[in-house]
């Protein structure tokens, strides 16, 4: 069976959905980060697959950009998480909410 663009896109869609559900359902901030990471990489898969399909390098280039941005985001994000953990002793979203609408 030839693996075509369709398979890649389905994989990307599945990964994105898993990440999306993770973002919505997870209560731990660290897990949220993982979930967004999954979503970003799902997009990367889609980019590279489509770039390859059209024989255009911009898709893969975009994927590199996303990886770089995601890396720096994780660096900053993890820093913030450590501060939050020091402050609240937990990364559970229920416990660190201070605004009551």
């Amino acid at each position: 069976m030839e693996i075509g663009i369709g398979h890649y896109l389905i994989l990307a869609g599945l990964l994105f959905s898993i990440g999306f559900v993770g973002v919505l359902r997870r209560k731990n901030l660290l897990m949220l980060f993982f979930a967004t990471e999954v979503m970003l990489n799902a997009v990367n898969v889609a980019f590279t697959a489509i770039g390859n399909y059209y024989g255009d390098l911009s898709g893969q280039m975009f994927a590199f950009f996303v990886i770089a941005v995601a890396a720096s985001e994780v660096a900053v994000g993890l820093g913030l998480l450590i501060v939050l953990y020091k402050k609240y002793g937990s990364l559970d979203l229920e416990t660190i909410s201070s605004m009551k609408g």
Partner: protein, 636 residues
């Protein structure tokens, strides 16, 4: 001469402004009264000087400035001092001066002394604008100005509480002030329509232009203008059916009643008809003129009949004012404009005197108005007694006194015109006038001293006040002697109304009839009310229970009728409309506000500080957008 016009006009204004400086919580300041009185006297002197000038050199016409000028509309702020207006100016300023000086004594103990003079002088200023203006717009401004001042002055003691209608038909000063103002507004609408019609059809409001153009207009338009203007005059001069406010306006201080509701403002309607005589003497509007005469005659009789049994001293005088205004309209309607003006001037003098005398009596009796509680005041108040006597004789129209000449001329006019019904009613009314005016004099000054039992200690007014009233008394006696001079002077401007030979022949008999009837009225009044001891007046319970007495006492139930059929339905309708307004207009506005408030209240729940739920919302929103975009693409 121009400067004299401005002095005459603006001196009262300056007086008013000066008194206005001491407004608010400023304590009573005698200076305000004297400054206002002096400035009015200056205005009076200027008016007299202008009168002399008009006699020798004819009328003065000045234009102070452009007032309204927009497109084709151009109304200058101009003043016309001719025979008619200068007569009014002299009368107004003379009576005003006396009333101002009188007020310095009468209002002596009132805490709002300064305010009173501010209003009173402002009234004179408005009245002068009314009579001096050379166009209808200026007249209207003065017309409204006197209305406002009248409102302020009738309601001067606005703090007095309301009393039920049965106890006091005028309820309270503020109620009476509002009634006067609102009723005049109704009439002013008619006047305004008349002015619009004039401008619409002629394109100018200047008297000279308007009256020159009038004969060329269509008959229907002329009749419409005449009716509309007369409706305005009816309101200001309190003619039936807009008359109820005048008797209620007696809630104001007595000097106000004397100046505004007897001598000057209420004659503005007569003045308007006289001023517009080129219109009212046109053939096309002869029907309207006859109606004016008939209505005037009716009011003369109608008001006199109510005065026959009235117990309130000021109401009696107010009703006699109404009655005399009816006489003036009768003369004006019959085309005898100069006679109407002559009666207007004579009436101003003796009626102001009568009112001020009534004010003295009230002052002496601690504001008691009921003549049943007076009697035998002659000893205590000789000065006022003489003045009231002179004024009543003049009002009754006995020979030599002013009222005789002017009223007799009106009655003669009715005979001359062949309107015998009007003549007959006016003659009977003359007898009634004599009866009720002397009834009031005898009640208050003759007979038993009924007040003693009630614990009053009457005392006469200040001497200087009595002296200040002297000019009015002198004119009430002598004004009639100058009838021929006045006629020669005024007919340069007004149509010279002449009696026919036939009337001239019978004039002595007509005069005699009137005098006999008047004397009869006085004698009856004397018999009934002036007796002492065994002949003293006693209340006639049986008569007081009769239908006629009740009818007259309740003013023919006209105020009741207005209350039941106009005021109450209007109140009910207003309440209904208010409810609708609250439900619909207020409701829809409130609904919008409430919707925003509610939506905020509900969506506030989203801001719970939980990142997870934010993300849920965000996800839902993103999904929604994607679905929407997909749908949009699918629909195309």
């Amino acid at each position: 001469m121009e400067s004299l016009v401005y002095v005459a006009l603006f001196a009262p204004f300056v007086g008013s402004m000066f008194a206005g400086l001491f407004f608010g919580n400023a304590p009573r300041n005698a200076i305000t009264g004297w400054v206002a009185s002096t400035l009015l006297f200056v205005s009076f002197l200027a008016s007299v000087a202008l009168a002399v000038h008009v006699v020798h050199h004819g009328s003065v016409h000045v234009t102070m400035m452009d007032w309204i000028s927009a497109g084709d509309l151009s109304i200058p702020f101009g003043f016309l001092v001719d025979e008619v207006s200068v007569t009014m100016m002299v009368v107004v300023t003379l009576v005003s001066t006396v009333v101002h000086i009188y007020s310095t004594g009468y209002m002596d103990h009132d805490k709002s002394y300064n305010r009173f003079f501010s209003y009173l002088s402002a009234f004179v200023f408005s009245m002068l604008i009314l009579v001096m203006s050379d166009n209808f717009a200026g007249l209207f401004i003065g017309w409204e100005g006197v209305g406002v001042c009248s409102w302020l002055l009738v309601g001067f003691w606005y703090h007095k509480a309301d009393r039920p209608f049965e106890e006091n038909p005028s309820i309270s000063p503020s109620w009476a002030a509002n009634e006067a103002f609102i009723m005049n507004r109704v009439a002013d609408l008619g006047m305004l329509v008349g002015i619009f019609l004039i401008y619409w059809n002629i394109g100018s409001l200047q008297y000279d232009v308007v009256f020159a153009a009038m004969p060329n207009l269509a008959d229907g338009i002329l009749v419409a203008i005449a009716i509309a203007l007369f409706i305005g005059a009816m309101g200001k001069s309190a003619q039936f059916p807009l008359h109820t406010w005048l008797t209620d306006a007696m809630e104001g201080p007595t000097p106000v009643s004397a100046l505004i509701h007897a001598a000057t403002m209420v004659t503005a309607g007569v003045f308007l008809v006289i001023r517009a005589n080129p219109l009212f003497s046109l053939e096309a509007v002869s029907g309207v003129s006859l109606f004016i005469a008939a209505l005037g005659t009716f009011v003369a009789f109608y008001a006199a009949s109510m005065a026959l049994i009235a117990r309130d001293i000021k109401r009696i005088v107010a009703l006699s004012t109404l009655s005399q205004l009816g006489y003036m309209f009768a003369a004006a309607g019959l085309g005898a404009y100069w006679i109407a003006l002559f009666h207007l001037a004579a009436h101003a003098f003796f009626k102001a005197l009568l009112f001020l005398g009534a004010g003295n009596v009230m002052h002496a009796m601690d504001d008691e108005l009921d003549i049943f509680k007076m009697g035998g005041l002659k000893k205590a108040m000789m000065g006022s007694y003489i003045y009231m006597g002179i004024a009543s004789v003049a009002l009754a129209g006995l020979p030599i006194f002013a009222g005789f000449y002017s009223k007799d001329a009106i009655i003669e006019t009715a005979f001359n015109e062949g309107t015998y019904i009007i003549w007959g009613i006016l003659v009977i009314t003359a007898g009634m006038t004599a009866f009720y005016s002397f009834r009031q004099v005898f009640f208050s000054f003759h007979g038993e001293k009924r007040y003693e039992a009630l614990g009053f200690h009457p005392h006469d007014m200040y001497k200087y006040v009595l002296v200040a009233m002297a000019p009015l008394a002198i004119l009430a006696i002598s004004f009639g002697w100058f009838m021929d001079d006045f006629k020669a002077f005024i007919t340069k401007n007004l149509p010279a109304y002449e009696m026919s030979h036939h009337t001239h022949h019978w004039a002595w008999l007509l005069g005699l009839i009137v005098v006999i009837i008047a004397v009869a009225g006085i004698v009856i009044a004397y018999k009934k009310y002036a007796g002492k001891g065994a002949n003293a007046w006693k209340r006639d319970e049986e008569f007081e229970a009769s239908f006629i007495y009740k009818l007259l006492e309740n003013q023919y139930y006209v105020p009741k009728f207005y209350d039941e059929f106009l005021v109450k339905p209007y109140t009910i309708a207003s309440e209904k409309f208010w409810a609708i307004d609250k439900a619909v207009v207020d409701g829809s506005v409130d609904l919008i506000a409430k919707a925003f408030y509610k939506s905020g209240d509900v969506s506030r729940g989203m801001q719970n500080g939980n990142l997870s739920s934010y993300l849920n919302w965000m996800g839902a929103g993103a999904l929604l957008l994607v679905v929407a975009a997909a749908l949009a693409t699918a629909i195309g």
